[in-house]
């Protein structure tokens, strides 16, 4: 019965297992569903969707099965997924940029549709397929002069002449959800339970013991509640190169703030690299001197820094290396990071760039001071483990930079 519909639901990307399907059959069997299509629509939706984010996919599958509307090309959705996590784009010289072919909008549309039909997997950093960080006319965060941006990520060269329109239901969809629940569960392991609360609870054992000693006269004994005493200082890079990772950082941030049950979370922002001042707002108007921040940190505070750590070596290794006007600092960024590292015994750095690109000079230098973990659910679990003193259990993997200049020690910056 309607098994085709089941297949269609799965083709649309809904996770309808046998269990869900049998429940639906059961509901029909019991006569709980009236003999009308709208009612079947509502009931089936209630049983196979788990979130309003699924409604859009359900609608597509329903229309496809009952009204013969073609399912949107499955490739499109996959393409959207590849684009959610962009690769960093290598800088191109003006000559290289000029060499890329310029296309008008009409040509571009045609080509896009052709590629969609042909492309079957993720591509990053290339020049032909739909992907990220490349020089193909299609994709995200790329460097083609008249390219077409696919999806809603961050702009690369900011010259996309058209953005492939997403369907109108997309605002309910949540493919992108980097599971905040999983992160929150990870963050919850960050705890120092101590009986230090001002709220008291009944100490049953002591009360009974004291009452017994008292010859049966009740003596109530109270003790402070166990509370999580963990404090965390978060330092977030809000620089431009972090824009593509904004959603991941947001998910992490909210999990930290809400789900963690931490005693206190202090948040500071920096641009590329922390210098003499940190900022207490994302717009970077409210300064706070790094020294003041470090001085006021209570003992046993955990430090979590989030940033790509990717910058020109000057910005990290030279005095007055800050590229932003007004941030000039006579102390090189790396020394500032050393100061920070010295102030926090327990510290981690979460990096949104995939681990195999961490060979970059600036990233390696930072990782020596602050143990670095990838900003993924798995990475966060490991980072929390490291903060709790379980050490770094990751297997070392080879790290090398994909950019020739970083590998070449004689390269002239």
């Amino acid at each position: 019965m309607f098994t085709g519909f089941h297949g269609m639901l799965r083709a649309a990307g809904l996770q309808v297992g046998v269990g869900e399907w049998l429940t639906l059959v059961d509901a029909l069997d019991k006569g709980a569903v009236g003999p009308s299509l709208p009612e079947f629509y509502a009931v089936a939706r209630a049983l196979v969707c788990r979130d309003e984010g699924d409604y859009d996919r359900y609608d597509q599958a329903f229309a496809a099965y009952f009204q013969g509307v073609a399912l949107p090309l499955p490739v499109q959705q996959a393409a959207q997924d590849w684009l959610e996590k962009p690769l960093q784009r290598p800088a191109l010289s003006p000559e290289e940029l000029a060499a890329l072919e310029h296309l008008d909008l009409e040509q571009l549309r045609k080509l896009y549709e052709e590629r969609l039909r042909e492309q079957t997997e993720r591509h990053d950093g290339g020049s032909r397929w739909i992907g990220t960080g490349g020089t193909s006319p299609f994709g995200q965060g790329g460097s083609h002069p008249t390219g077409m941006r696919v999806g809603e990520g961050a702009a690369g060269r900011g010259q996309a002449i058209a953005t492939a329109k997403a369907r109108r239901f997309r605002n309910y969809r949540s493919d992108v959800v980097l599971d905040t629940r999983q992160i929150a569960v990870a963050v919850r392991r960050l705890r120092r339970l101590e009986r230090k609360s001002r709220r008291f609870e009944l100490d049953l054992e002591q009360t009974i013991a004291a009452t017994a000693r008292n010859g049966g006269d009740i003596e109530i004994v109270e003790k402070p509640e166990r509370r999580n005493q963990a404090r965390v200082v978060l330092m977030l890079d809000s620089g431009g190169s972090m824009d593509p990772h904004a959603r991941t950082v947001e998910a992490f941030f909210s999990a930290m703030k809400q789900g963690g049950g931490l005693r206190e979370v202090e948040v500071y922002y920096f641009h590329n690299c922390p210098y003499g001042d940190l900022y207490t707002d994302m717009a970077m108007f409210q300064k706070k001197a790094l020294e003041d921040v470090l001085r006021s940190v209570p003992p046993h505070t955990y430090l979590v820094m989030v940033g790509d750590g990717w910058m020109g070596p000057r910005e990290l290794f030279s005095a007055y290396g800050a590229i932003e006007y007004g941030m000039a600092d006579g102390v090189p960024g790396i020394e500032r990071i050393e100061q920070i590292a010295a102030a926090f015994e327990k510290r981690v750095w979460l990096n949104p760039i995939p681990e195999n690109y961490w060979g970059e000079a600036t990233i390696t230098a930072i990782a020596e001071q602050v143990p670095m973990f990838p900003l993924t659910v798995e990475g966060m679990v490991q980072a929390v483990g490291a903060l709790m003193g379980r050490g770094d259990r990751r297997q070392k993997q080879e790290r090398r930079s994909p950019w020739p200049e970083a590998r070449d020690p004689d390269f002239d910056w």
Binding site: A32, L202, Q258
Partner: protein, 294 residues
């Protein structure tokens, strides 16, 4: 796992189809969903914008089916155990010294929570509606802790060894504001419904229920202004149905006539609760700016 409204050995009294109540207007998909959840004996998980009547739904179901309603308001400190029963050790300790009750009888110090009561009444052959309100407020593991009891429909009171077995499944309505994501295993066992924001026709119906004698013209204009306000981009908190109903009461009490409402937006504080939102509208003339925004 087959979820059946009747557990072995029990006869299910047939329940009428639920069709909403005079005070609660439900659209067709919500009605079907409620009936299917009742028939399958599965918890109904309701999400939706604040103020779209998630909590009222449980009341309306109880009223419509002629059943009692038990409510369990979940707070950040609520544990799953609290819903089943509490053992009042302090009272027992106190009684051992000062009371005249027989302290050897532990059962009298066991107080059933809302879930426990629902099970107990079901064990006596009485169906109730149980509302678990704002399940996402509690600890992350809270929904998981509920799973076993909701599945097995039974629990054991460790202190007395008594087992409460619900003979038939109570109708469980769970609301969530999506503050936290719910675990997958929990979602799999629920019938899910997202209450969409009602359209203009339904809003008119809803207002009519609460204000049966409101002037047609006033209601039409109030609704138009309200929907326009909801359409303003980047509002931090969009006004909801319950706020609309309050607003219409305010307009009527103050005797504001329809013409005046065309150009002004009185009592905006009833609709907008965030200072930033009010400031947004404060800039420039409301009616003109709203028109250009469209």
């Amino acid at each position: 796992m087959t979820a059946d409204a009747t557990l072995p050995g029990q006869k299910l009294p047939p329940l009428p189809r639920w069709t909403g109540t005079a005070r609660y207007i439900a659209d067709e998909s919500l009605r079907s969903t409620v009936n299917v959840a009742v028939a399958l004996g599965r918890p109904l998980l309701v999400k939706g914008e604040p103020g779209t009547g998630k909590t009222l739904l449980a009341q309306a179901i109880a009223e419509g089916l002629g059943l009692d309603l038990l409510t369990w308001h979940v707070k950040s400190t609520t544990r799953a155990q609290d819903g089943l029963y509490l053992y009042d050790t302090v009272a027992r300790l106190n009684d051992s010294r000062f009371g005249d009750r027989d302290v050897r009888d532990i059962a009298q110090y066991i107080k059933l929570g809302p879930l426990g009561q629902a099970f107990e009444r079901a064990a006596n052959g009485e169906r109730v509606v149980l509302l678990i309100d704002e399940v996402d407020k509690a600890d992350l593991e809270f929904p998981n802790d509920l799973l076993h009891e909701l599945d097995a429909m039974r629990f054991r009171i460790a202190e007395t060894g008594r087992e409460v077995v619900a003979g038939l499944r109570p109708i469980v309505v769970i609301t969530s504001n999506a503050e936290k994501e719910l675990p997958d295993a929990f979602l799999r066992r629920c019938v899910f419904h997202y209450i969409e924001f009602p359209d203009e026709t339904m809003l008119t119906q809803i207002c009519r229920v609460h204000h049966p004698d409101v002037d047609d013209k006033l209601l039409a204009i109030a609704l138009r202004q309200f929907l326009r306000l909801r359409g303003v981009p980047d509002l931090r908190k969009k006004p909801s149905t319950s706020e609309l109903i309050d607003w219409v009461s305010g307009l009527r009490l103050a005797g504001i006539d329809a013409e005046k409402l065309e150009s002004t937006l009185p009592f905006v504080g009833v609709l907008l609760k965030q200072e930033k939102d009010t400031q947004r509208l404060g800039r420039g003339d409301w009616s003109r700016s709203a028109v250009t925004r469209r």
